[in-house]
Amino acid sequence: MNVLEVEHLNVWEERSGRNLVRDSSFRLAQGECLAIVGESGSGKSLTCKSIMRLNRNGIRHSGRIALNGEDLSILSDKAMRRYRGRRLCMIMQNGMSAFDPSRPIGAHLQETLGIHYDWSRAEREAKLAAAMIAVGLREPAAVMSRYPFELSGGMLQRVMIALALVLEPDVIIADEPTTALDAVTAYEVVEQFVRLRERLRSAMIFVSHDLGVVRRIADNVLVMKDGEIVEQGAAREIFSGARHPYTRYLVSSKETLSRHYKWLMGGVDVAQG
């Protein structure tokens, strides 16, 4: 059964009429992880925001987006708001800017849980603490009382994952969650995402342009270029035998890049000359 169905999604800029995403359709099955890859400006983020109905003013979209068979575009703003977080949970690219800078992290988490569940404060705190420990944040109470600028990007990413754990959404949408992190932290965060999937069995949309990460986590891959889906299919097939030249280019440039990197590391003296 498909959790999420996107059919003929078009996104455009209202003022100029410029098309940003063209006629894109895809579906997401229960427990599936779909990676959306493509360079920046290819419409990955816009697709995610359209699903959440969070495009900023001046950006419009059309098409059918259905969550468990229910068309999201006909929901009232209030009903849609209740779905955000509870059923569609977003994880942002940059944890450092994702939380209100003048309140402790805990305030955001408490407020979010307060919107969706009738738990007491203590219950919310206990659930958050358990989730935080599960994602490797060892001192939940201390983390919750910290301001966002007092935590590292990796920790804030884990906080967002922990919140998703508590919310138990149908679909998790992670918009380049590792891009702003260094390689080691990114690896750890990706491992948390893998575990999050194992634990929750929710479907996930994972936006990235790091094909290494995609290979690790995704079942299916969707390749976007200039607002259009140029290829979609199982991750394994895409990596071994891409049909579209652009995908082949992406895969090969990833390999060239790693070869080039190895060459650089081995050839320091050449570079200095």
């Binding site: 955000r84 977080g85 939380f99 209100d100 800078p101 003048s102 979010t112 600028f149």
Partner: protein
């Protein structure tokens, strides 16, 4: 927070020394010999070189600069800024009441500047690009380009002379405040509401608003967060605004014959009454530094991030 406050206050001390020293040597800029000025001011008919030399030593001007600075600073700390060349009164007896009057004008004006700037800034940010935003911005643009005395003349002509509603000048009743405050507020609101507006806009478009929305938070709750964060910028901006207003009431005071520092200073400049000018500069520069310090402290109190980074 206490540690921050302490460090911030300690920083002010050397600045105050530098400022007072600069004010002290400001006198040296004058092309006229102070001794000669004193003699002129006292109405001595024939000024001879001996008389000048005598006056110079009477004034203690033949001693080294730093010694004179030290003495001067100590007398200044006792609010003794010397004697006015023109009236012969102690400077502080003229300056003190004038300072008080200017402060009243400044604080009342600043209050309205802050209130209006926040209100207009918030409205414009929430209605960005729509007619309230556009019209407020164009009107304020025009008003900012207007010379204050011209606006003052218009207002006096209409409200005081034609309608006879408000006094044209002086500081006799609450009504006396209306026009000068209006003129000052008009001059500054245009600048400060833009700051609030752009700060609101950058917050409205910030990631945390998007994430909050993605977590299902209500618009009301998000706007409150945006307000809170925008007003943090506002605190420091307004902290700076008050001393700037304090230093620029000169034209308005003259226009409305407000018995404040501006009127006193312009008259002193025209009459070359140096002790008053010097005292004016010192008092305002110190006030400027103190206001800035207080605004920094206030800012640190509302913005946890600043305390940490310092």
């Amino acid at each position: 927070m206490l540690g921050y406050a302490f460090r911030r206050i300690v920083l002010v001390v050397p600045l105050l020394f530098v400022i007072s020293f600069l004010t002290f040597i400001l006198n040296g800029l004058s092309p006229m010999d102070p001794a000669e000025v004193v003699l002129h001011a006292q109405g001595v008919p024939v000024i001879t070189d001996e008389l000048i030399a005598e006056t110079r030593s009477d004034l203690g001007m033949d001693r080294p600069l730093l010694v004179r600075y030290g003495d001067w600073l100590i007398t200044c700390l006792q609010l003794d800024f010397g004697i006015s060349f023109i009236t012969g009164d102690p400077v502080w007896s003229l300056l003190g009441p004038a300072l008080l009057n200017t402060l009243k004008l400044t604080l009342v004006s600043s209050f309205f500047i802050i209130l209006l700037s926040i209100a207009l800034g918030v409205v414009c940010a929430l209605k960005e690009g729509k007619w309230p935003d556009l019209s407020i911005r164009s009107i304020s643009f025009l008003l900012t380009s207007m010379p204050v005395y011209w606006l003052a003349a218009l207002l006096i002509g209409y409200f005081s002379v034609k309608l006879d509603l408000l006094p044209t000048s002086g500081m006799n009743s609450l009504g006396s405040y209306v026009l000068p405050v209006a003129v000052i507020v008009v001059g500054y609101v245009g600048i400060y509401f833009r700051i609030i507006r752009s700060s609101m806009l950058s917050n409205l478009n910030a990631d945390y608003v998007l994430y909050g929305r993605a977590c299902g938070m209500t618009e009301r709750s998000l706007i409150l967060k945006v307000l809170r964060n925008s007003l943090q910028v506002a605190v420091s901006v307004f902290g700076m605004a008050i001393p700037i207003v304090l230093g620029s009431t000169v034209v308005v005071e003259n226009m409305f014959a407000w018995p404040g520092l501006g009127t006193l200073t312009v008259n002193s400049i025209l009459g070359r009454d140096f002790p008053i000018i010097q005292a004016y500069v010192l008092v305002l520069a110190v006030a400027f530094v103190l206001f800035n310090t207080v605004s920094d402290l206030l800012n640190a109190a509302v913005n946890p991030r600043l305390r940490k980074e310092f």
